[in-house]
Amino acid sequence: MERIVLPEIKDLNKLEVYLQNEGYSAAKKAFSQTSDDIIDQVKKSGLRGRGGAAFSAGLKWSFMPKTSVKPKYLCINGDESEPGSFKDRQIFESNPHQLIEGILIASYAIGAKTAYLYIRGEYHKWIKLMEKALSDAYEQGFVGDKMKERFGTDFFCDIYIHKGAGAYICGEESSLMNSLEGKRGYPRVKPPFPAQNGLWGCPTTINNVETITNVPPIINKGWEWFSRIGEPKHPGTLLYGISGHVNKPGIYELPSGTLLTDLIYNYAGGVPGNKKILCVIPGGSSMPPLRGEQIEGIKMDAESLKAYGTAIGTGGVIVMDEDTDLVKVLARIAKFYHHESCGQCTPCREGTGWMLKILERMVKGEGTSHDLDLLISVANNIEGNTICALGEAAAWPVKFMVQRFRDYFEKRVKNEVDLPVPNKVHSMRNTKFPLAELNIP
């Protein structure tokens, strides 16, 4: 299977190697067409957002006003903070120029002359790698005002990197814009939507890193080619990130609709010790979990997962084996969302704290059956009652974990679960890995 986002080409992160592999030819091709043509091709390709909502990328671009007295902006969301997601860093590291080229094409399509690439602050190393790639591209005239000579077009675009500072909520698009404007990263009430009123009140489009990196091959090879890869309703490849109890965790670029069992057993090498799978979270920690015995035959794409009451999210698959203490896992997830709630909306600010308290009580073995209903009730009171989707992100794992594993949780609160070691969430790290170089000034 051909890889689109992370091709197996050595040193592709270097500009000269990227150029040898048709680099920046898609941008040149795009600039010779109208912006409407580009939007049309991306729409027809069926490309859907890879950041979680799986919304049509072309449709999103078409929401931008054709004419605007105000400047238009493009934001690229590289905040990647959802537990279980670690795909964008691979793009920064292995294929930065395809991302830059995608940004140029997207900017051209929506008429933006400035694009901001928002990268989470913890990614120091990857920010430096992107800065290097960007400065090489600037130097050679692929970005910035020298583009006119390089591409022989009137269009030019500047790209700036904005470094985050450790806040999960800034991956939410309106929060990201507030953060970019130098404010606290509070999500905004919608409407107005970013395409009308985004950065500094101007029309703005926000796309995920992986989404944008898919654009150059679509322009070069045609939307028909792309639309035929994987599942027709969610075409293309996805960067599946597998973590937790598998032998070979990592990022696997595979066609959408790859079987979850294929991903776990064939690509990620199965579960250590051939243990059974208790639970799988298919798309990052905020997505509803699946029971181990139900994963057979489930395809990994937006529509197929929807049918099973969960979602593709960021494609971050977290696998838990039969010895995992789910209560402890859920308490940790609840702790995360409580920590990351921005505090604007009462249901989320207070509710995430209550859910954590109840779950911590259960970890200590002091929970009751009533607590299970209480958890679901609190989760239901958060869901749908907040400005942004962090409410759902916090409520779903709790609500669906308790509902779908009710038998397990009932036994657990009655202290009837046979945990090999009580409360153990085990370490499976016994293989030897080379130590990284210590490189501290």
């Binding site: 602050g121 130098g182 937790g244 896992v329």
Partner: protein, 160 residues
């Protein structure tokens, strides 16, 4: 104590401001530069950032307190960040956290007496596929176990 940016940092600040149509947007960059120069974001740093960007010190404080990567007290020379979120937890993140705590004799968000180390339990750092992990200042160390983590701490100790 009054805080002033160095000439070189003032140039970096100018460059950062030029990225945005509204200079307020440079506040996050400039706070990082201030933290780098001063070691942490003190009230004086915030006041100076506010001066440069023509903001109120309260606005700057609002930004500082929203994000976890601005330190409002001095941290150790080596700031050890241990991820304990789900994917790390499933592969022993808490064992790593406990062993670092023990090794350094400090708890979360504390600094050792010799000011060499500080410790922070952090949320997901995007190392799920290479879990468990720690970060030392800006550098990630991944695919760890208890022994390797202790080796890292030990080698940092020996550097000083």
């Amino acid at each position: 104590m009054e805080f002033k940016f160095t000439e070189e940092n003032l140039k970096r600040i100018e460059k950062s401001i030029a990225k945005y149509p509204d200079k307020k947007a440079a506040v996050m960059d400039i706070l990082y530069i201030g933290q780098e120069q001063n070691g942490w974001v003190s009230g004086e740093v915030m006041r100076e950032v506010a001066n440069i960007l023509e903001l109120s010190p309260e606005e700057v404080l609002g930004v500082v307190t929203f994000y976890t990567m601005y330190y409002q007290k001095p941290m150790g020379k080596y700031h050890i960040q241990v991820c304990t979120n789900v994917s790390c937890m499933l592969r022993g993140g808490y064992e790593i956290f406990e062993s670092v705590k023990q090794k350094l004799g400090i708890d979360n968000m504390q600094v050792t007496d010799d000011k060499l180390f500080s410790l922070e339990e952090v949320e997901c750092m995007g190392s799920c596929g290479t879990a468990p992990m720690i970060a030392v200042n800006e550098d990630y160390f991944e695919n760890l176990d208890k022994e390797k983590t202790e080796q890292i701490i030990e080698s940092l100790k020996n550097k000083n």
